[in-house]
Assembly symmetry: C2
Homo-oligomer: 336 residues x 2
DNA sequence: TATTATTCCGTAAACGTTTACGTAAATAAA
DNA sequence: TTTATTTACGTAAACGTTTACGGAATAATA
């Protein structure tokens, strides 16, 4: 602990602790000269106010929590980057929690945050089914903003991307470049995010009077190894000529599976994926991606949370939709 | 705030707050039956102890701070992942701060943390020159563990990788595969991390009686655009046949520069980089990397911090070195 | 001059815990 | 039986702020 507290500071200045406190918070009740004296002494003694005493008294923590499935993920780390920037501008602190897709862990974090440790929560939900009761209890008690991984059944402010349109356009792009049998690598299907992507895929097929076979939808497995096996099998059996992957993690194994199966991307199979990979351009072949504005989502989500803090937000159930970017690259190039 | 506090709980139970507090912390002074009653009522009323009151009284925050240059970075997000896991096991909270390589921001974070908000700090230093005075003041007041980005002049526990050997071996690998004129993309040179990597490069050249020209060392610039221009220029003018990049961010532009200059990797130029890119395998050509055990570094650093908390660490200046992994891929393949 | 308003600061209580100290009752030892 | 010990709990102070309330001194107004 910083050995110097407000009492010591007050003693040195021949003032009361109350005056010092007010001077530091720039209260109008304190004279200009006193304020200067206080600030100078505070600097001289390296006084740092005790945040716990302050939080306890003010019932404000100046801290927000960010709950995400994984930190080591291109999308989430960018989003956290955005959140941290906004928080720093506001002199807020950011607590990080990762659920590893477990709703049990998620719920336990949320419960612990009911203690008042944070003034608000930014959360991207785990894939496992959420405990809606608990989540309701939380969001009744403190501001919660959902981002990207959201759930229709849960009310609240949500920042998402145009998942439906993105998936739809991606499939359209595949079709325009010659695909007739388009597979879908399914994930996040317990969440609205995943449902919207899937629906975009399905509707695009329907609009183009293309095969809409259940067999063309591959549900992801429990881990990377399993996913690889599933994907390889899926490609080998279904022989799709185009694939839309709903998450980056499922697109990468496609490269390896195609190599193994001696299939050429994009000639034998065109691939497109939701992804925030920074180096999609450098892949072999470069990967056509649906790029979500992850950093901006972080900025927006945090910005709204602060608006809620400041009572400048009046739409408790508004959903804000940011546009993703379809970046066309080699992996979906039409055959000449 | 959770409306129910320890006094309400005590009132409901016809006990004193002191007894309730002790029962919750499993004190031996409380009878078994009372403990059970208290726990049941606490669960029933959804009691969550106020962390600020607790921290204020106990002078413990159950929180650690992680300060890194960037969150959206393969290495750091993996390290944070490791740190978060260790913290969660211990029921600790993790605060995240990013400096964007500014030592001014870094210092301001550190100063704010002197308030006692955290019990300890894990830090990976910014490239700009550190304010050693300030850092000394911090580490005198609370436990600090440095990881990866460390500085020789600053005392403390450090978790690093075998940068010197890694760079040395990387150059050796380039030489073995036919390189005669090896360039170095310099970064982090204000830190021991960067100095060690550079020295490994230099010594490997010396041992192989190879050209050791100042011109072959390219100092990185201020941003991505500048780096790209510098690198393109560097390759065009110096015409190295091998390059060791000290950070991932400088290796990627090499791909683009080579494409622009119509140089083939690995035939015209072999490339190797310190990198934690998950998909180095999929690059075109796949990139030979020096892979740091980022996740493990996070685990180790956090583990040591907790040992310090528990007075189970007696080496205030120990440096722990984890081994990086040289993964040989296409970008350094010997010409047949 | 008397009254009111303004400026500037101090006193003390409050935030919700934890813990040193005290104590009554029950049990053990002498 | 008397004394010492143990068990189980309560009282109250402390952690370091913030803020409601009050009050003295000065300035403004009647």
């Amino acid at each position: 602990m910083g050995a110097v507290n407000i009492k010591k500071l007050a003693f040195e200045l021949n003032l009361s602790a109350a005056t010092v406190s007010r001077a530091l918070r720039d209260s109008h009740e304190i004279s200009r000269e006193t304020k200067i004296r206080v600030h100078e002494m505070a600097k001289k003694l390296n006084y740092e106010p005790n945040p716990f005493a302050s939080s306890l008294r003010k019932q404000k923590s100046k801290t927000i929590a960010v709950i995400v499935p994984e930190i080591a993920n291109n999308f989430f780390s960018l989003a956290i980057n955005g959140i941290e920037e906004v928080a720093r501008e506001r002199d807020y602190h950011v607590l990080i929690y990762q659920t590893h897709e477990s709703s049990e862990i998620e719920t336990s974090f949320l419960m612990r945050l009911l203690s008042g440790r944070v003034d608000g929560i930014l959360i991207s939900l785990a894939c496992e089914n959420v405990d809606k009761e608990q989540l309701k209890r939380i969001s009744d008690q403190l501001p919660v903003v959902f981002f990207d991984r959201v759930h229709d059944d849960i009310e609240g402010v949500k920042i998402i991307t145009d998942d439906y349109e993105s998936a739809y356009n991606a499939v359209q792009h595949l079709i325009e470049n010659g695909c007739k049998k388009i597979g879908y690598l399914l994930a996040l299907n317990t969440l609205s995010t995943g449902k919207n992507r899937l629906q975009g895929y399905l509707d695009a097929l329907k609009c183009n009077v293309l095969q809409d076979d259940k067999g063309l939808i591959m549900q992801s497995g429990a881990n990377n190894d399993e996913n690889y096996a599933l994907i390889k099998n899926f490609i080998a059996e279904q022989k799709p000529d185009g694939i839309l992957s709903s998450i980056e993690e499922l697109a990468m194994p496609c490269y390896f599976a195609c190599k193994e199966l001696q299939l050429n991307i994009p000639n034998d199979l065109k691939l497109i994926s939701f992804s925030n990979l920074a180096h999609a351009e450098l892949l072999n072949p470069s990967l056509t991606t649906i790029n979500q504005p992850a950093f901006e989502i972080g900025l927006e989500a945090a910005g709204i949370l602060f608006k809620i803090f400041n009572k400048r937000w009046y739409e408790p159930n508004e959903t804000i939709i940011l546009k993703s970017n379809l970046i066309k690259r080699e992996s979906t190039r039409a055959i000449l």
